[in-house]
């Protein structure tokens, strides 16, 4: 028996050392284990997706019962907002036409057109350390590393890891997420930084930045990571040198997301910045 205990103690020490070695490798040489990660994710994502169906169904049923109760009031408010939106639509069409004519007159080089891939959220990683999502679509569906991911009404993150049939999204709420943004209407610059809570922050705001709660936030496209102009959210509470952000994307009810295929004008040179997900695309 003591011999067995000794072997066990040795195995324990060996495995601790292996875990530490893996951590060092994945920190210093992020690309080295990338294939392993996407391979394993490819295999497990369908299993997670299988078990996710019932939870989605339960959420669905709850939602449906709730909506039955309020269907009349909802109908009235929808009619009202439909009327309002129709007016906005005619205005938008007029402005679009005007915009097109002015662009033509000025000979503006058009932005590249973006196309979408729609994917189901198969899994979600929460907890105090990460905020990522697993998509049930990957390389074979046209998803590439670095693409922006939109959910419902706004940006939710970007693709950091692609397998053949699965992909990982680093959500804008993750501690590691940094997105350069503009705050309309004064086009103030800031960096949207996640902190693992549901409300990311604006950092690196200029001291005299003209922002107010409710101001719209869009991606600025600086650094070439995201296309410019993607809606992100609105400014919430403002503090000293930073502000909270209420994202447009409704996390709790998100089931499908759109992955944006967009030709970036000037891709960043390959860097070897150490991080959880390796070099930036």
């Amino acid at each position: 028996m003591p011999a067995r205990a000794l072997v066990q103690r040795f195995a324990f020490a060996l495995l601790i050392a292996a875990a530490i070695a893996l951590m060092i490798i994945s920190q210093s040489e992020p690309g080295a284990l990338e294939r392993l990660r996407s391979g394993v994710t490819d295999v497990v994502t369908p299993i997670v997706a299988f078990f996710s169906r019932p939870s989605a169904t339960v959420a669905d049923v709850v939602e449906r019962v709730e909506s039955l109760a309020s269907i009349k009031a909802e109908n009235a408010s929808l009619r009202e907002s439909n009327d309002r939106l129709m007016r906005w639509q005619s205005l938008a069409l007029r402005l679009q036409r005007e915009n097109d004519e002015l662009r033509q007159a000025l000979k503006v080089v058009p932005d590249p057109r973006a196309t979408y891939v729609t994917a189901r959220i198969a899994g979600e990683a929460g907890g105090p350390f990460v905020r990522t999502a697993l998509l049930g679509a990957g390389e074979r569906d046209g998803i590439k590393k670095g693409q922006a991911v939109l959910g419902g009404h706004g940006l939710i993150g970007r693709i950091v890891d692609v397998g053949s049939g699965s992909a990982r999204v680093l959500l804008i709420t993750d501690l590691n997420s940094r997105v350069p943004v503009f705050i309309e209407p004064h086009r103030e610059r800031a960096v949207l930084a996640g902190d693992n809570s549901d409300t990311p922050r604006l950092e690196f705001l200029a001291a005299e930045a003209r922002i107010a709660p409710g101001d719209r936030i869009v991606t600025s496209g600086e650094g070439g990571l995201f296309p410019p102009g993607l809606p992100v959210g609105v400014v919430g509470e403002i503090g000293e040198g930073q502000a909270a952000v209420r994202p447009y994307a409704a996390w709790d009810s998100l089931e499908f997301v759109s992955v944006l295929d967009y030709e970036l004008p000037a891709p960043l040179p390959a860097t070897r910045r150490a991080g959880r997900f390796g070099a930036l695309p």
Partner: protein
Amino acid sequence: MRPTPLFQRLDLQARGLLPALTTFFLVILGLIPWHLPGLAVITPAFTLIAIFFWSIYQPHRLPYWVTFLIGVLQDLLLGMPIGQGALGLLLIQGLVVSQRRFFIAKPFLVVWWGFAMVAPLGGVIAWAIASITRDAFIPVLPVAVQTVVTVLFYPLFGGIFGWLQQKVLQPPS
């Protein structure tokens, strides 16, 4: 003594996979989107529950290398630095295995209390490792909240595991 028939041995071995399989299932459970507001922030550390339970009651059926593999799998799937979760789970398992004699045959409440002692330690270890790998202090409050929620979830899974242990592993080792 007659040699056990082959199918019986296979059956026993398959039953012996219960701790590893349930722990794997909790990894999957931690990844399921619940579509409930605010839950992502407090997703419990489900695997800690399984590691704690099986380290006390069936340590030889959840050897360290299995914990290591499950930890690595979890790191890969969550998108964390590989080895981070594995290291945390191994340290906790080492601790629990060394103290298991105290918990064996103790009433449920005592074991739960034990988990309430171990879970914060697991949180602190995970927090320390994550802060070192990120080279920055990670907010402490979410770790504390997650720990409390994990402790509250213990009776549910402890109960299920205890029941499964009786049903599946009854021909005791």
